[in-house]
């Protein structure tokens, strides 16, 4: 049913399979957790549900990065910032849900504000007691910041490594800002001790299962959006602007606007990922803005295969799965392993896992398609004389 709808909308079978798989996991994992007996071999324990849910939000973040890096050639080293901003917007909603259950029992102000002796709620916390408002902000704040940032960067034709450096500076600056207590976002402790979301206890198994399903749904929507954008005429323009920015200009296009659009959409996707991440891990603090986080996203995407839609998802799941395992065994060496992995992929798998795989299949496919075209063309091609044929 779903796949039929998707196929009618012109999505490739590979993409449809991915979406169906994500949605199936989004149903199967929660069901197994809630319905099956804890001793059943297929039972997924709650901590695994939360862990996998977190991975799904990472996958959405990697997909968002891929939209700009893989398809537009913008190597953003600051996508963690958009993720964190979405996370803070959700965190602010969760903080205001605590209400009188906080340590100081203030009905309006979060504990850290009472602790700082603040007399009233800062204006930018208004509205976050409403879920719908928080959701709007989850998309709006990263989107607007990306738009303003991109407007100046792309229109000044900042590209390549310079652009990467200023995205890195952006996330660093935001980290320093959010560390400050007087910013009103909880300083270095960030926002935590959440109680409930939409009235459901954030710790409850059912809530965790629901958040997992929501993350899977968000990822599936992310895949559809990315596939629709990159598969359209606009997607070709993105590739053209990536590989021949100046050539595209001489055709009358404005590559800076193409990039600006993609960057903004991508930031919104990253923000949504962050918003789903925060209730599942139970905390958001300025550490999420750390430059290294954004660089990790680049590694996931590179490992899986940039410029593909499935690649970044696989990369995020594999690398984070590996990280969870590795940090259990040899915690001190994780960063070395990650760095080594990046070097390995850059040198030996420049297209990443999925890209390398597709290159093999794709070559055959292009040949078949071209052969078919040649067969179809030859008979008529012989009769119709091209311009100026003797």
């Amino acid at each position: 049913m779903i796949s039929g709808y998707l196929a009618r909308n012109g999505l490739e079978s590979r993409i449809i399979a991915t979406i169906v798989l994500i949605l199936a996991a989004g149903i199967a994992v929660p069901v197994s957790n809630l319905v099956l007996d804890p001793l059943h071999p297929l039972h997924v324990p709650t901590y695994i549900v939360a862990l996998l849910g977190k991975y799904l939000t990472y996958a959405l973040l990697a997909l968002a990065l891929d939209l700009v890096w893989g398809f537009c050639g913008i190597l953003s080293l600051g996508h963690g910032a958009f993720f964190a901003l979405g996370g803070y917007a959700m965190g602010m909603y969760l903080m205001r849900q605590i209400g009188t259950r906080g340590v100081y029992g203030d009905p309006v102000m979060p504990d850290f504000m009472v602790f700082l002796n603040w007399k009233e709620l800062p204006w930018y916390w208004y509205g976050f007691d409403q879920f719908w408002f928080a959701i709007v902000m989850v998309a709006l704040v990263p989107g607007v910041i990306a738009f303003v940032f991109g407007w100046f960067a792309f229109r000044s034709r900042v590209t390549g490594v310079y652009l990467s450096i200023i995205t890195q500076a952006m996330t660093y600056a935001l980290m320093l800002a959010f560390f400050r207590n007087d910013m009103g976002f909880g300083g270095n402790n960030g926002l935590t001790d959440f109680k409930d979301i939409l009235g459901f206890d954030v710790q409850a198994d059912t809530t965790r299962a629901g958040l997992f399903a929501a993350s899977a749904a968000a990822l599936a929507i992310g895949v559809i959006v990315t596939a629709r954008i990159t598969g359209s005429h606009f997607g070709k323009l993105m590739i053209a602007s990536r590989d021949g920015e100046s050539r595209a200009r001489f055709l009358g296009y404005r590559p800076e606007m193409v990039k600006l659009f993609a960057f903004t959409v991508s930031a919104v996707m990253a923000g949504v990922a962050g918003a789903l991440y925060v209730p599942q891990v139970g905390i958001i603090n300025p550490g999420e803005f750390a430059p290294a986080n954004s660089i990790e996203v680049v590694v996931w995407t590179a490992v899986g295969g940039r410029g593909t839609i499935i690649g970044p998802i696989i990369g995020a799941l594999l690398v984070n799965g590996g990280k969870s395992w590795f940090t259990g065994v040899l915690p001190e060496y994780w960063l070395f392993a990650l760095g080594g992995l990046f070097v390995f992929v850059t040198l030996f798998l420049p297209k990443g896992i999925v890209g390398t795989f597709q290159a093999h299949i794709g070559r055959g496919r292009e040949k078949r398609k071209a052969n078919r075209a040649e067969d179809a063309q030859t008979p008529s091609g012989a009769e119709v004389s091209p311009v100026g044929a003797e």
Binding site: I229, S232, H233, F234, K236, L237, I239, A240, D243, G244, S246, R247, A248, R249, F250, L251, G252, Y253, R254, M257, V258, L260, F261, E366, K369, A370, A373, E374, Q377, T378, G381, V384, P386, V387, G388
Partner: protein, 249 residues
């Protein structure tokens, strides 16, 4: 003297220097509507730089550059100028290598260029038909779904000419279109350009004198950034100064 209002391209007293080196000196060049002109001249004469100035890539230090008699091109950027109706084929063939031949043409096809128009653009029978026609003209129908990167040098040249056709500009600037082509392909290209010139204004830069003769149009010889000689090919090629700096080498 031609009135500016009757021209498609009008350059007057244009100069450009790169780090003190004067690539274009007090250049004046006029192209009437519907005219095709060949430009010749030794390496470094400023032929490509002149096209850079017209298409907004390089800003002149001084002088007037007008399109269609009224549009001051020095006030517009590359994308604007392309939209006004000036198309360009580059000296080094420049196509989108990781896109297919068809996609290259489809991007060039005349249509609104802003982000949202492109985002919601739908393929139409009319577009498909136009692409079929162009593919036939440039003889690349059999390579339609191949990546442009896999084309030969000559085929890339033709693809770029096809992109020009798709753009359907008022003025075409064609920089060395037959480099890397066989003699037969060169003749074919000359015929194609003559056909295009029936409905468009064209400037062609080329070193291949055989090709220039085939075009059979007025010739301008540039040297050190300004016009050395202008007139019929016979007139220009018998000009003593042209022989000295260019043909005689």
């Amino acid at each position: 003297m031609v009135e500016r209002a009757d021209t498609i391209l009008y350059l007057d007293g244009v100069s450009v220097a790169f780090d003190g080196f004067k690539a274009i000196r007090n250049l004046s060049f006029v192209l009437k509507r519907g005219e095709m002109r060949a430009i010749i001249g030794p390496n470094g004469a400023g032929k490509t730089t002149m096209m850079d100035i017209v298409t907004g890539k390089t800003r002149p230090d001084e002088g007037d550059v007008f399109f269609n008699g009224t549009v001051d091109l020095t006030r517009h950027d590359e994308a604007d100028i392309a939209t006004l109706g000036i198309g360009r084929k580059f000296q080094k063939p420049t196509v989108f290598e990781s896109l297919t031949v068809e996609d290259n043409l489809s991007l060039a096809l005349a249509a609104p260029r802003d982000v949202f128009s492109v985002l919601f653009a739908r393929g139409s029978a009319k577009r498909a038909k136009r692409i079929d026609e162009i593919l036939e003209t440039i003889r690349l129908g059999h390579r339609r779904w191949h990546l442009a990167a896999n084309l030969s040098h000559g085929q890339k040249q033709w693809l770029e000419i096809g992109m020009l056709l798709a753009q359907n500009p008022k003025l075409l600037l064609v920089d060395e279109p037959v480099a890397g082509m066989t003699d037969a392909e060169t003749e074919e290209t000359a015929r194609l350009l003559r056909e295009i010139s029936a409905t468009h204004s064209v400037v062609v830069v080329e070193h291949d004198m055989h090709f220039v003769r085939e075009l059979d149009v007025k010739v301008t010889c540039l040297h050190e950034g300004s016009v050395l000689s202008e007139g019929s090919l016979d007139h220009v090629s018998s000009d003593q100064r042209v022989i000295e700096v260019y043909l005689g080498r």
